[in-house]
């Protein structure tokens, strides 16, 4: 078997199988486990009721993000239920000796932003978290995916989960991206082609010029959205861009350990001739700035196009009609010029420094449209500090925007950042499901550039006209 060509995914997966169960899942070892306040409390209760402990507390990292307010974080959290969850995370972490970056901690932020930026996420690792966007960490050549609370309890108590090995898919995007086309557009394009369930049962490797030339922030955006086409995760082979990003980060290996790690990381790529269960290839030149018009992330298209008719899309007409009805849209309408009420830039998808640089590149010298309420939410305190250091805050302030404090915010509207019923939001987050950003809220997923163009014009606008 050893001379057989294997994929990046196989190499990392196979190195983590503790035991193979016949006609069952693999017992799969987890190197890094992230927890947050929403999906962990019941797992800790489970440990208590079984009277078992945490096997390797140093392999788990806690950060508060889903429930946290994005203003006045120095004050007590108003919502008693949110406050209770935050307290539970703090108490459980302290009890079991787990590192905890709670509200107000200098390194606090969205779990999928803080893991990479502090060097906790490394190539070749297995990483899980009770959050489906854990796929983000695949950008480093790690196998990273979201798990349920029962599995959180498994990882805490045994550092393993039981997982059937997924099938393998490769998605190649070759060529050069056009002006105003960002990593978010690449991922929304791929999802629109594969549909919201097109990669279910698969683990994806992204390959081709476009990803090789992409920054780590961009790769994280792409891998983050893998779950939106049903894939458990997505990964990109680590290269010089990856190594340069990791080098020097707080928890990254140093000195001799770095050299040893680097030698291993360089073996993490798909061998020539390795076979995938499914493969897709797309041309970068075909990708426009994207926007969604419906209620799942697969319902996206180039911003200049008209909303499809039900016979042009997969799935039943009843489901399609329900979706357009919820959005208040009609077949054949143009997306350009549609009036917008809210703009949200942030989230684990687009809450990194590069995203705010992109946003600022369009709002610079312009003014926020009067009809738009904008929430500008950094992914972490480190990103917040970068925004200030790089002068982006001044650009935002001059254009009439306020910078909020880090957290998941309006991506899932667990805190006060809810889009009101019936209102339209251009959002750089990852899901446009019914009610995702608040009951009755209508979400248009897009890149930071498209969000910025909407924020300054008050309508859906092609960002290429403003660049």
């Amino acid at each position: 078997m050893s001379n057989q060509a294997s994929t990046l995914f196989d190499k990392v997966w196979d190195a983590h199988v503790v035991r193979k169960i016949e006609d069952g899942p693999d017992v799969f070892f987890i190197d890094r486990h992230f927890i947050h306040e929403v999906t962990s409390p019941v797992a800790f209760l489970g440990l208590e009721s079984r009277n078992i402990g945490v096997m390797y507390p140093e392999r788990t990292f806690a950060t508060a993000d889903h429930n946290t307010p994005t203003i006045n974080q120095h004050l007590p959290v108003q919502d008693p239920l949110s406050a209770n969850q935050l307290k539970a995370l703090e108490t459980n972490s302290a009890k079991y000796g787990i590192s905890h970056w709670g509200l107000g901690h200098a390194r606090n932020g969205i779990v999928h932003v803080v893991g990479p930026e502090n060097g906790i996420t490394l190539p070749g690792m297995t990483i899980v978290c009770g959050d489906s966007h854990t796929s983000t960490h695949g950008a480093f050549g790690a196998i990273a995916f979201g798990i349920g609370t029962s599995e959180v309890e498994m990882v805490l108590s045994s550092q393993c989960i039981m997982q059937p090995k997924p099938k393998k898919m490769r998605v190649n995007v070759n060529g050069t991206l056009g002006k105003g086309v960002t990593p978010k557009d690449v991922t929304l394009y791929i999802i629109s082609k594969l549909t919201t369930a097109g990669a279910t049962g698969y683990f994806v490797e992204y390959a081709g010029d476009v990803f090789r030339n992409m920054s780590m922030e961009g790769r994280m955006t792409v891998c983050n959205m893998s779950i939106e086409m049903g894939a458990r995760g997505g990964m990109i082979a680590p290269d010089e861009t990856t190594f340069a990003y990791i080098n020097g980060r707080e928890q990254a290996p140093k000195g001799e350990k770095w050299d040893k790690a680097l030698a291993y990381w360089k073996t993490l790529k798909t061998d020539e001739g390795a076979v995938f269960d499914k493969e897709y290839t797309f041309d970068a030149a075909e990708i426009e700035p994207m926007i969604t018009y419906g209620t799942n992330p697969g319902m996206g298209q180039g911003i200049s196009r008209a909303i499809p008719t039900s016979d042009q899309v997969e799935g039943g007409k009843a489901t399609y009609d329900k979706s357009l009805n919820y959005m208040g849209f009609h077949e054949n309408e143009s997306m350009l010029g549609k009036k917008i009420d809210y703009v949200f830039i942030g989230s684990c998808t687009n809450g990194r420094i590069e995203d705010f640089r992109a946003f600022a590149s369009i709002v610079k010298g312009r003014k926020k449209a009067d009809n738009v309420t904008a929430w500008v939410v950094p992914g972490s305190h480190i990103v917040e500090a970068q925004i200030k250091e790089e002068g982006i805050l001044d650009i935002l302030t001059d254009a009439g925007f306020e910078l909020r404090q880090p957290g998941c915010s309006a991506c899932l509207a667990m805190n006060d950042d809810k889009i009101p019923a019936g209102k339209y939001a251009v959002s750089t987050s990852n899901r446009n499901f019914e009610g995702r950003q608040g009951p009755g809220a209508r979400t248009l997923l897009a890149s930071p550039l498209v969000a910025a163009a909407a924020a300054v014009t008050g309508v859906v606008t092609d960002p290429r006209e403003l660049l």
Partner: protein, 198 residues
């Protein structure tokens, strides 16, 4: 957490012929704030089931008294989106023990199996037959036979087999769970851990 053993379930079913039912619909994020696993069934399909003023939406199937039972039948790609196990908890807490669809999202399927809900994947054609049978008679019963891996529409006698791996089947039939299994192999895990480079 202990759950009821699953062997043969004979029940009427609740039809939800909508595709891509995501976990934000099954349980919206604002109801994820509990620190205990209790009462999630009250908010199952909250925004499809209730108006903003908490009055029931009469046209939603869970508010229609002619439909009831321990089996939920959903459209293609059921349970997509967020990894929240709360979605499976809400379905279980409401009283369902089995969800039937022509396709399930991965994480939802795993979460369901872990808490004692059986996800039964059938062909698109058989799913249509189930919807038709329920439409013809809301009291039509389905029989889900886990030992034989077979689902039958009792009114018509039509049946189809379904897949489940042997390990999970054994767990569900006996009420076992993965955590006990993992606890029993801790020495093996400890040995493995010492070899890790990270």
């Amino acid at each position: 957490m202990a759950y009821d053993k699953f062997t043969i379930l004979r029940s009427t079913a609740v039809p939800l012929p909508i595709e891509n039912v995501d976990t934000d619909q099954i349980i919206p994020a604002r109801f994820l704030k509990a620190t205990k696993r209790e009462g999630f069934g009250d908010n199952l399909f909250r925004d499809w089931r209730y108006n903003g003023d908490d009055t029931p939406k009469q046209d939603f199937v869970l508010n229609n008294p002619i439909y009831s039972g321990k089996i939920l039948v959903g459209g293609h790609n059921f349970g997509s989106g967020s990894s929240r196990e709360h979605a499976a908890w809400a379905i279980y807490d409401y009283g369902f023990r089995c969800v039937v669809s022509s396709f399930f999202a991965d994480i939802f399927k795993g979460n369901s199996l872990n808490i004692g809900i059986l996800p039964v994947q059938v062909s698109a054609a058989f799913l249509d037959k189930i919807f038709l049978a329920i439409e013809a008679d809301p009291n039509a019963e389905l029989e889900v036979n886990l030992p034989d891996q077979k689902i039958t529409i009792l009114s018509t006698g039509e049946s189809e087999s379904f897949d489940i791996n042997g390990y999970k089947k054994h767990n569900l039939m006996n009420g076992f769970d993965d955590i006990d299994y993992l606890q029993a192999m801790k020495n093996e895990i400890r040995e493995f851990e010492t070899e890790r480079i990270y």
